[in-house]
Symmetry: C2
Subunit: 804 residues, 2 copies
């Protein structure tokens, strides 16, 4: 039994009457501008009675959440000025776009970046008209909104973004509004635990504000309908000290919120002092705020006989028929006038100076903080020369190495050279994905308790491991969006968990490309290992190469997919990705010991081209009879083994081996900036010869990328066709007809001249598959003659070992 406090209240009335009046006026101004955006085409200061033509024909937007956002924003301005804080505002309920646009406009930032929207009546009219209007701005806190790193369209990621922004920003306060509906999502529910990964000495602070307005779209919210005790317990269980600010009387709430924000910022300052000066390394109990005010506060109380303010009905547009229904229009006018615009704006339509003075200035304005435009702060990484990490490749296909292990060494030194701008994220797989070398240089971030025997845990570790792909992704997004760099390593199959987060990030990048004041940020780099072909421990549930397909649906300018076949190519690709900007880079590479093919110089040339003929594996310099194409480490291995078989058993067959590292090269240049011209493509893949394409993922993707090519009808793709279980590596490729023997069979079947001549070889290949399967059933492992295959004519390499 312990004595605990549930939700705490802060006593005290810190605001003078003037301060209170000022804050309230500022809030009214923001509310006025928000309602104006949702409803008005014209007459922005209500200088005339509101007429039909002043109202938008389509009313699109969300009012309900907005007064709460505006309230908090106004109060934060006071705190920022009083304490000279650098603050960033993350809006969970991003559908409250009008509120954030309003505040940015009140602070002057909006007119700075969009001079067309000035600080006068005309500017106001334009501000109103453009909102959710064709050719105007989106309804959400989108990339177009100054001060935003978070659109809040797909709910659930506000808090994880906030933490990502706070990492390595010791002087930043990130205030994060979490919708009580949003709080029901899985990613948000997991995000609270980020307290165990935030170092008070090195990182900034996050102040979560749970916006308990009680409702989501059409339902109450779970957290609004559990007793205070339970809510308090939950939030304390998450590691916070929660303060409740509740009420529906503005004057009361102003005092309470001001007192609570003072307390919270005091506590944060004290936590940081204790950690930074006092050397206190224990995990602090961070303050947070529960803001319980009515949804749609200050809006219409009742419409058409049903309550609206304080209910779910205020979520979108409380008055729906303001154009056609004069009564609704009159209510709208009353509502707008209730904010007393004449007290807020001067004759020109500019915010009165005494109100303007309530906002911070310059980069202290939350709408103008450079942290929300991370590209402004972005500095190139200090990169060691990746060539120094090259493995020796005496001749192709004879020696083995672990590609991820070598990349781990490179990343270790990237961490060392960039001690506060680069992080490695992963769901507890950094070591098992063989990136363990980074732990020679740094630890895993850990603010939980530690025990003797713990390894590599420290508050200031730079490897972030948590069993939540959502948190890994969200932290990294927040970190990148505020101008830093990083890598997310993950099992290939489970990266689908963040499909929808990737969507939103790719959309963000796409839109920012057309916003001149948004500066490029570092790319989002995925390092997918433990891929579909080597799930020896796990089996079918861990086999899914479809993330590539998902990513390729995003805008071509944004996405890059790399399938390096060996260690040196992985190093070259890795270096390239870390230097790039505004992309989503997906790199898929195995972690097991595997054959190496290219020296570093060859690897660089190959990666620069993105694909190319491997002359040493081909037996013709001229026109081939068949092209064996491959993309991915395992398909490359099987293709080379197939080429070996063909060269041995059908020496007269002219075989060309083409390896593809940069998958986007396959697309036409009209579709993707990396795309090959048709001329180049035809030269490599011929315009009439069979192409047997061994691909890492779902085979259809290759068709989707190449269907416009001259020779498409001759391209036969093998890949993963959703067949798998817990079995040996070679059995896996056989299950999907991607094995060397089947590639030989495919070659025979697709090369017109071979049909009859090669029937004997074909049959031997069928038998070889059966024998290989039988071997696994008897011995529980692959035939060493298969597993230990190396490119012939060379000293044999060690047989690749099993998975761990």
């Amino acid at each position: 039994m312990t004595q605990v406090t549930e939700l705490q209240h802060v006593d005290g009335r810190p605001l003078t009457d003037d301060e209170l009046a000022g804050l309230d006026a500022y809030w009214r101004a923001a509310n006025y501008l928000s309602v104006g955006q949702i409803y008005l085409l014209d007459n922005p200061l209500l200088r005339e009675p509101l007429a039909e033509e002043h109202v938008k024909p389509r009313l699109l937007g969300h009012w309900g959440t907005t007064p709460g956002l505006n309230l908090l924003y106004a109060h934060l301005n006071r705190v920022i000025r009083a304490r000279e804080l650098d603050a960033l505002f993350v809006t969970g309920p991003g559908h409250g776009g009008p509120g954030l646009v309003a505040n940015s406009y009140l602070e002057g930032t909006y007119s700075e970046v969009y001079p067309y929207i000035g600080s006068d009546e005309q500017g106001l009219q334009r501000l109103f008209r453009q909102f959710s209007f064709p050719g105007g701005i989106p309804s959400h806190v989108a990339p177009e909104t100054p001060g935003s790193i978070h659109e809040g369209g797909e709910l659930g990621y506000s808090l994880v973004h906030a933490y990502g922004a706070a990492f390595d920003n010791p002087d930043l306060l990130v205030v994060c509004v979490v919708g009580d509906g949003e709080a029901e999502t899985g990613p948000l529910a997991a995000s609270w635990h980020s307290t165990k990964f935030l170092d008070p000495a090195r990182d900034g602070a996050v102040l979560p504000v749970l916006h308990l307005n009680g409702y989501k779209i059409a339902n109450p919210t779970v957290l609004a309908r559990i007793p205070d005790d339970e809510l308090g317990a939950l939030l304390r269980g998450y590691g916070y000290r929660p303060y409740l600010v509740a009420g529906d009387d503005p004057a009361e709430v102003h005092q309470l919120l001001a007192a609570t924000l003072d307390r919270a910022t005091d506590e944060i300052a004290e936590i940081q002092r204790a950690a930074r000066e006092g050397g206190d390394t224990t995990r602090p109990e961070w303050p947070m705020i529960v803001l319980r005010t009515p949804k749609g506060w200050t809006g219409p109380k009742e419409v058409d006989g049903v309550p609206v303010e304080g209910t779910f009905r205020s979520h979108q547009v409380p008055l729906a028929a303001t154009r056609t229904n004069p009564e609704h229009r009159a209510m709208l006018e009353t509502w707008l006038r209730s904010y007393r615009p004449e007290e807020l704006f001067d004759a020109e339509g500019a915010l009165r100076p005494e109100l303007r003075a309530l906002a911070p200035t310059g980069e202290r304005r939350m709408s103008a903080t450079p942290h929300a435009n991370g590209g402004l702060l972005l500095r190139d990484l200090e990169l060691p020369d990746f060539r120094d990490y090259a493995v020796d490749v005496p001749s192709p296909g004879c020696a083995t190495s672990e590609a991820m292990t070598e990349l781990g060494r490179f990343l270790r030194d990237v961490v060392a050279a960039n001690p506060s701008t680069f992080r490695v994220m992963g769901p507890d797989e950094t070591a098992s994905n063989r990136l363990g070398a980074v732990l020679e240089q740094t630890d895993r971030t850990w603010l939980g308790t530690t025990l003797p025997g713990d390894e590599h845990l420290a508050p200031d570790g730079r490897v972030m491991e948590v069993l939540s792909e959502h948190l890994c992704q969200g932290w990294l997004e927040g970190y990148l969006l505020t101008g830093r760099h990083g890598v997310f390593n993950c099992y290939e199959a489970f990266i689908h968990i963040v499909d929808s987060m990737l969507n939103q990030h790719a959309k963000w990048l796409k839109v920012t490309r057309d916003i001149p004041w948004r500066r490029p940020i570092a790319s989002l780099n995925y390092l997918l290992s433990s891929h579909v072909w080597r799930q020896d421990h796990n089996g079918f549930s861990h086999q899914d190469p479809g993330f590539i397909d998902h990513v390729v649906n995003k805008k071509a300018e944004i996405v890059r997919v790399y399938l390096p076949p060996d260690t040196n190519t992985l190093l070259s690709v890795g270096d390239h990705c870390l230097r790039s900007r505004d992309y989503v880079n997906v790199v898929v590479a195995g972690k097991q010991p595997a054959l190496t093919y290219l020296t570093m110089d060859e690897a660089i040339a190959h990666c620069t081209r993105g694909l190319g003929i491997w002359e040493w594996a081909s037996n013709t310099d001229g026109e081939p009879d068949v092209v064996l194409a491959c993309a991915g480490d395992i398909p490359t291995l099987e293709t080379l083994a197939a080429a070996d078989l063909l060269r041995t058993h059908l020496p007269e067959l002219k075989v060309r081996v083409v390896n593809v590292v940069d998958l986007m090269r396959l697309q036409p240049d009209s579709e993707h900036p990396h795309g090959l011209s048709d001329r180049e493509f035809d030269a490599l893949f011929t315009s009439d010869k069979p192409v047997i394409f061994a691909y890492h993922g779902y085979p259809w993707l290759i068709h989707r990328l190449t269907y416009r090519r001259t020779n498409h009808a001759n391209i036969h793709v093998r890949g993963y066709k959703e067949e798998g279980t817990t079995t040996t590596p070679f059995d896996m490729v056989m299950l999907n007809d991607l094995d060397r023997f089947h590639l030989v069979i495919d070659t025979i079947d697709r090369t017109p001249s071979l049909g009859v001549r090669a029937a004997g070889l074909r049959q031997r290949m069928v038998d070889a598959r059966l024998a290989a399967r039988l071997y696994t059933r008897e011995h529980g492992e692959d035939d060493p003659a298969i597993a230990g295959w190396t490119w012939p004519g060379r000293a044999g390499g060690a047989a690749p070992e099993g998975d761990h």
Copy 2:
């Protein structure tokens, strides 16, 4: 301030010495069988000294979690017998497969379903050998495992599955082991709140057991490294009464766990009694257990000088080199013998009868409960005749209706006719997706507090709304897997949130098809509305039609995608989906008022064919000059408007309009069971005429489905190319070149004979696009002449209204 209890301990030592000894022996037997599966090829009872050839060459599996699972399982058996419970075991750490297989074997179920694995020494040897062995069984708690509805491969869904199983199963106790690593995931973190959606009167009980073994793969877990107070607060905040069972002395832990399980099951019985007999409708505080025992308990304490038992190093295979390293092998032998197999199994190798008697019998065995093989319990839905919900279609394309509203009426009556076997899930969008009619019949499930003014909330509501797509999906999966039916309605864009859950469910279905004793279950039905083309309120972040692409990568036998163009087709498709088994059905349909085209009889014929020529929209019965194909409601509208334009301005052009409802019809019949034969395809789409295909989603998908067709080179697809914002419906289609004017332009550009002749019309179409855009910029809405278009020669329908 309140007095609260943190993690509680239950005092009492309920077990007699004999009971304790029996339980411990049973536990040892399960542990022995688990280690045997991971390591042994032969010598299963250690009748000889352990030799190299007795050990598997590849050691693949996970030991760490297994002793905890086995401990709990043994104790549950006692409780089940004592209280005659029906229980289902859901294993979060599904990598503990050996434990569940072991228990199923000990209970005899395994040999019943796999007679090849008998209850004797040979059976034991086969049991051991097959595990994680080529041609054998997977390492996880897979579909192959009797008693499982949950593989636990991708972590995070155990608790939500458990709740799904408990709904409408008043006599079922679902015991759910949650890994402490798994508990870090977003979906799991959200799942705890399912207490607010479980009706103690109508539903069964879920007993969560948080398996606090302290570690995940290579790291400690968050929940293991926060103080007990904090953990207790968290779990109480989630709505539970948590009991701690902690220790590393088996005898002590046995007593504690037994006492705690007795308490928990007592409390559950009392909660249910109060609700069912006492009419207590308040949300109860459900008991749960925190089981804190060492990871890899009873395994090697130390290996090669480093601690293993009780650390992350026990996660997979504690002794890695048992084949090559005699010292490791000796340790393995000691470990195995520590369970004293000679006391557990008789001379034949069968479990001794006194131990066998400790397990329940028949369907009370958790490995044999029919709830884990839901198809056994599945009953057809009682379906009203969907034709009764038909809308009147006097002539094609002249009247409007809201397809989802009509479907809502049908679903309302499905709910009424199936009061305990059908549920509707959705993330707070059931009303906004226009399915509101179901609320005339039932309420939303809600155990939270209620306030005056609340609408349609009740503990026994059959509509489940929570702002978590993960919970909607997981509840429904659990519900279906235990033999019931349901529908998940969701915004199209945000269904990507559950991409990876869909993967796992589709994999489960695929595997069960090859397991004779698994019986078919009801299909997983997605109803995706608020689709990409009508995000009027929201914009770019809400626009993503890629879920279809994702689903289509799954096994063809499993997936079905329907794009009904109007109300009657939606009704027909909806009925069809609710009758189907073992599929994933994706239905995409708009919620706005839209034109109707087909009478119910026509709709049934069209949906049965899956696609077809719309004669009334075509102007030729013979060979066309161009085929206008369409799939999806908005593309269909634009295609028909384009056909109208072509017929008016190029009357001599022979136009055929083909509408596709069942997308899988486009694939070759060799690829998908619904696929059209090439002959049929060529007849519909011609073998040489241009096909202008207006498609709902990403255009590449149509190419991926049709690249093998004769006429593929002539298929020109328009669809969503990731261009969007908050704008009008027609502006959206224009942004993506899917509008009627552009389809006319495409027709002109692709029809060889038209180039010169139609240049004037082409230019008028370009101008029409500009004019349409300009209209939106000026008026904020679409030109009524465009928005109000109807199929000509008929009375004009009402202009479709805007989105809400």
